[in-house]
């Protein structure tokens, strides 16, 4: 049983999703979704525990040996991302149980959970698999279900946002498929290990370089790397809050994991940084993402939209760390990915609490929020402080290491960009704090706090973030170990 954990945490949500549809009862699907997502948390923690000592788990599907069968391969980074994804998945499922009455028809909620489980399954599959075509299939499973999840909101604008997300996502996935075809053409295998051992012979071939280019564009669309981020603000703003939180914490992060896996292990650092000089494209674009997306965030009147732009900026920090092409940069990027996934999901869930009580997430609604909903406001502020990078939050640790890495690589402009991005984050988070505490509401409504069932998942994620901020040793050593292995 334990040896089959890698496949079980992918297959179980996949199998339970249609079961949720069959039962039609909202109660049973809620129960099933909670149990399955909890199982994924336990399973991925178990994988993290095994890989923590440096073991790499190889699992052959159906006992077919790798070149013929599909192989699952989980290293420490994979287990770390799987843990993040399943914890956020669990928190979002728990949150949606109470929240959904607000945004989704009760009779449709079994479909909602089926889609959520499918998306979780697809994301975990993307992390586990070591076969590039299998990766494409899981990518499409997770993407298709997330388009439908974005559209599951009752707002008409969500439909249009989902359509745009679908067009962008499909173009991205098709580019990735084309690149997979070219890689197969050059190496004659779909197994990532085999490809990476055969690619060095054909580095100079135009086909390999075209495959690299198509993969970069396709994955950048999925990661929402500036300037291919246009689908993200709409999708995050109009999706139901638990889905915004789930997508913000998982889809872009898993795509970023695939990014790291392809460029560091599959193509290899030699091709990526020495021959193609990938950092010259990626670095300036990431810096632009940090500055421009943070500036856009400042001008938003809808807080969900503001957080979506802030997500683009934060993704910029992660790609900036990667584009430094040093071990320190990569490990800082991994720390940032981990803490930001928790912080941003917690923020979207906390906004969900506000929407649950007050109806919408406009700036006006935040006036006097500190007195109406003190615990939720505290959650928003803690999450916001992590965006800025204040000590004792996870954001401080990752920004500290990002700046150190930038200085270590003599990239002073990048260090300045990171500091400037933090200042801009201070402005947009500060605006929320100002409204919540120093402005009083026009209408003197005394609304109470959101129910505990909504508060608990928010604080679960925030505590994970604060833990990383106060006891950073474990995540730093894990990130360093991963970066050592990839360079």
């Amino acid at each position: 049983m334990l040896a089959h954990i890698p496949i079980l945490i992918v297959v179980l949500p996949l199998v339970i999703a249609p079961v949720c549809l069959l039962f039609r009862s909202p109660e049973i699907s809620k129960l099933l979704a909670t149990i399955v997502s909890l199982f994924c948390v336990v399973g991925s923690l178990f994988l993290l525990d095994i890989t923590f000592s440096g073991t790499i788990i190889n699992y052959e599907l159906g006992a077919w040996e790798p070149p013929w069968g599909i192989e699952y391969k989980i290293g420490l980074l994979g287990a770390l991302i799987a843990t993040i994804v399943s914890i956020i998945g669990f928190a979002c499922v728990v949150f949606s149980i109470t929240y959904n009455k607000h945004e989704i028809h009760e009779e449709r909620s079994n479909k909602f959970y089926a889609l959520l489980l499918l998306c979780l399954s697809g994301l975990l599959g993307m992390i586990m698999t070591n076969d590039i075509f299998n990766l494409f299939v899981f990518l499409e499973i997770s993407s298709l279900s997330s388009y439908a999840l974005v559209a599951s909101s009752q707002k008409p604008k969500a439909l249009w946002a989902a359509y745009r997300y679908l067009i962008a996502g499909t173009i991205g996935a098709t580019f990735i498929l084309l690149s997979i075809g070219m890689l197969y053409m050059m190496t004659g295998t779909l197994n990532m290990d085999d490809i990476s051992s055969r690619l060095p012979d054909v580095h100079s071939s135009a086909t390999t370089q075209a495959a690299f280019a198509f993969l970069t564009v396709g994955l950048s669309l999925k990661v929402a790397l500036f300037p291919l981020h246009f689908w993200l603000p709409g999708a995050y703003t109009y999706a139901p809050s638990p889905i915004s939180a789930f997508l913000a914490g998982t889809t872009t992060k898993v795509s970023l994991y695939v990014f790291i896996k392809f460029f560091f292990s599959l193509f290899g650092t030699e091709l990526t940084f020495n021959e193609i000089n990938f950092e010259y494209i990626m670095g300036p674009l990431s810096a632009a993402a940090i500055i421009l997306a943070s500036l856009s965030a400042i001008y938003q009147t809808n807080i969900k939209r503001m957080l979506a732009y802030s997500s683009i900026a934060q993704l910029g920090y992660m790609t900036l760390g990667i584009s430094m092409a040093t071990k320190e940069g990569l490990s800082a990027s991994i720390i940032h990915l981990t803490q930001h996934a928790f912080a941003k999901s917690a923020l979207f869930l906390a906004l969900g609490c506000v929407i649950f009580k007050l109806g919408s997430a406009n700036l006006d609604n935040l006036k006097g929020l500190g007195r109406r909903m003190p615990i939720t406001t505290a959650a928003i502020i803690v999450g916001g402080l992590s965006m800025i990078g204040i000590p004792l939050t996870g954001g401080f640790i990752s920004k500290w290491y990002l700046i150190q890495a930038a200085m270590g690589a003599d990239l002073w402009l990048y260090a300045v960009t990171i500091v400037l991005g933090s200042v801009l984050a201070l402005v947009y988070v500060g605006r929320v704090v100002e409204l919540a505490f120093f402005k009083s509401s026009d209408e003197q409504l005394q609304l109470g706090e959101a129910p505990i069932a909504l508060q608990a998942p928010v604080w679960l994620l925030l505590i994970a973030n604060i833990y990383l901020g106060i006891f950073p040793d474990s995540i730093i050593s894990v990130a360093r170990y991963i970066a050592e292995g990839l360079f």
Binding site: E140, W160, I167, T170
Partner: protein, 122 residues
């Protein structure tokens, strides 16, 4: 047989590139949501044809076990593309369902008209 000789001399990969660009242009250039999806399907089909082309081995037959044939085309890309076609059908049907819902809500399937209704930026 003249026509077969000409057919074998054409580089079919150009066809893939032309189809891809036609599809991609329709996705970007047209404001009708259904036409965008048609473009998306053409775009995806171009990639499928690319996979099929790449599996062809010169002088190879279908991959069957028979004594008189030794060279055969690679069957694996065909299998992969079967999966990709299923994915493409799922994508198109989901997108069409979304367009139906968009038409119910906005009473139009024209991108510009929808953007005018939603005056805030998307």
């Amino acid at each position: 047989m003249q026509i077969f000789n000409i057919a074998s001399e054409i580089n079919y990969y150009w066809g893939v590139i032309i189809l891809m660009m036609i599809g991609f242009y329709i996705v970007i250039g047209h404001s009708n949501l259904i036409k965008k999806l048609v473009g998306l399907s053409i775009f995806q089909s171009a990639i499928f044809i690319f996979f099929i082309l790449m599996s062809k081995v010169d002088g190879g037959t279908a991959p069957i076990l028979a004594e008189e044939y030794n060279i055969y085309s690679n069957p694996l890309p065909h299998v992969l593309i079967l999966t990709a076609i299923v994915v493409s059908i799922a994508t198109t049907s989901l997108a069409l369902a979304l367009v139906v819902r968009i038409r119910e809500e906005f009473k139009t399937i024209d991108e510009k008209a929808i953007l005018e209704i939603n005056d805030d930026e998307f």
